[in-house]
């Protein structure tokens, strides 16, 4: 029996606009993520999925509720949770290697060997001395993943990391992510708005309603890996999710 790695309890988040209006971004979120699970949070833009991830990362404070990691309440950002962002957000003044070394540098101690190890995990061991401006979009995302991995975090938080690359690169990156996940058995929270991506990657998919800030359903994906995006089973799960999201009401 796998233990619970991350628990979100009765979480709500209210934003206050400049004019003083209150906007409910998240409402009564309850979530349990098992150790080593790859969980996708699926929803259209504005559903609060990124806010949820930022709260788990410790970058935002919840308005109500708790986030527990290994049963202990969260206090802020920490190296136990690595985050990968949608717009790669690499440090442009650092080389690829120096970007990956960042977390290790903060911690102190040896860094180059570990950085090189992470770079080989994402297949960039030969680009370590290049600057981000010299890289393609897909390569930048790989560096972002390597940078998040360098601290060896137990949890990897990924905020639509593959949303802004072309289809071919995206499927390469997805395959690479699964390989890394398989090799490291990390707990991964993966935010996406693509049903296909969620079905391809996830053990379990959390569906968030658009504009409502709450979880409308949870779907387990019990397909064996590697998954084939064109197989009938794959499409069944896709259709099921789309139905639950309310997109296929006419059928």
């Amino acid at each position: 029996m796998r233990s619970t790695k991350l628990e979100v309890r009765e979480l709500s988040k209210v934003f206050r606009t400049v004019e003083g209006r209150e906007i409910l971004a998240l409402k009564d979120i309850n979530l349990e993520v098992l150790d080593g699970e790859l969980l996708c949070i699926l929803g259209s833009s504005g559903c609060g999925k990124s806010t949820l991830l930022r709260i788990v990362a410790g970058l935002e404070q919840p308005s109500a509720g708790d986030v527990l990691i290994n049963g202990r309440p969260l206090t802020g950002p920490g190296p136990d949770r690595g985050m990968v962002f949608q717009e790669h957000l690499l440090f442009p003044w650092r080389t690829v290697r120096q970007n990956v070394e960042y977390g290790l540098e903060v911690k102190g101690g040896p860094k180059t060997a570990r950085a090189q190890e992470c770079l080989s995990m994402v297949g960039l061991e030969n680009s370590s001395e290049q600057y981000p401006k010299e890289l393609s979009g897909g390569m930048k995302q790989r560096v972002g993943i390597a940078r998040a991995l360098a601290n060896d975090p137990a949890i990897l938080l990924m905020d639509e990391p593959f949303a802004s690359v072309d289809a071919q690169t995206r499927s390469d990156l997805q395959a690479m992510l699964l390989t890394i996940w398989w090799g490291t058995r990390k707990t991964i929270l993966f935010v996406t708005h693509s049903v296909e991506e969620a079905v391809y990657l996830a053990d379990r998919v959390i569906l968030m309603g658009s504009g409502s800030g709450h979880i409308i359903d949870t779907v387990s994906v019990d397909l064996p890996r590697p998954r084939y995006r064109v197989s009938p089973e794959f499409n069944d799960v896709r259709r099921d999710i789309l139905k639950r999201l309310g997109f296929l009401t006419g059928e």
Partner: protein, 257 residues
């Protein structure tokens, strides 16, 4: 698709044209003086300026006075730039400090550095420090605002990234994120200060502090305009060197851009 024929000529050809143009200009100038159209106190001949230039190096005046001026310049820049960068960082980082300091600086900034000359004399006397003080004022405001603007304009999402990577202390974030991210703006400020400061050196020395500026003023008082022009050449050449060196350093530091 033939462009301008001048742009089409070889690199060597262009150099030849440029040299000829400069030589022609100097020749015309020399000719005007030689014809006796202007007394030397209105327009010294280029050859006279060149001779004076060599004399002034030979008798040690140019190295000595340039040494003084560079000392004023370096001291003023070091103080002005370091205080400007430091305070600019602090103001951009701390809302409270910004609130307190912004009105004071907004009030003092419009006063040109040279307006402080009387106070420079009273506070520091006719000394290196007085000249350095005047130079530092200009450098201070320029780097303060460029640093402040640079820090305000950085991509603050990078700070979030750093925090998720375990960087929690303010000092760590400032050192590893804020300063490198604002470095292009800071360096632009420093480069502007280098130019403004060099102008201030000449002007500041004119109130009696030994250096190139005073030498020019004194020579002008004696109507030795060849000396004045020789020192103008020194000012131009030295600044050219300083600016060129700084650009090289800047390009190296910002090669990631």
């Amino acid at each position: 698709m033939k462009g301008n024929p001048v742009l089409g000529i070889s690199r060597l050809g262009r150099t030849v044209v440029q040299c000829t143009s400069v030589a022609g200009f100097l020749g015309l100038w020399e000719g005007l003086v030689w014809l006796g159209l202007f007394p030397p106190y209105l327009l010294p001949a280029p050859t006279a300026v060149a001779t004076t230039f060599v004399d002034q190096i030979g008798n040690g005046n140019i190295p000595r006075l340039l040494g003084y001026s560079l000392r004023h310049y370096a001291l003023g820049l070091i103080w002005g730039v370091s205080l400007g960068v430091l305070l600019g960082l602090c103001m951009a980082w701390s809302r409270q400090l910004e609130l307190v300091l912004d009105p004071i600086i907004a009030l003092l900034r419009p006063i040109p550095p040279l307006a402080w000359i009387p106070f420079a004399i009273i506070w520091f006397g006719i000394t290196t420090q007085a000249a350095a003080f005047l130079i530092s004022l200009g450098a201070f405001y320029i780097t303060l605002y460029s640093t402040y603007g640079g820090v305000k304009g950085i991509d603050w999402r990078l700070v979030d990234v750093a925090r998720t990577l375990g960087d929690q202390s303010n000092w760590g974030i400032i050192r590893r994120i804020v300063i490198p991210a604002a470095l292009p703006a800071i360096l632009t400020g420093i480069r502007t200060s280098l130019g403004q400061g060099w102008m201030t050196v000449v002007a500041a020395e004119m109130f009696g502090i030994q250096g190139i500026g005073l030498k020019m003023l004194e020579a002008a008082g004696l109507l030795s305009m060849d000396v004045v022009m020789a020192y103008m050449a020194v000012i131009g050449l030295v600044y050219f060197g300083i600016d060129h060196t700084f650009r090289t350093v800047e390009d190296r530091l910002l090669r990631w851009r």
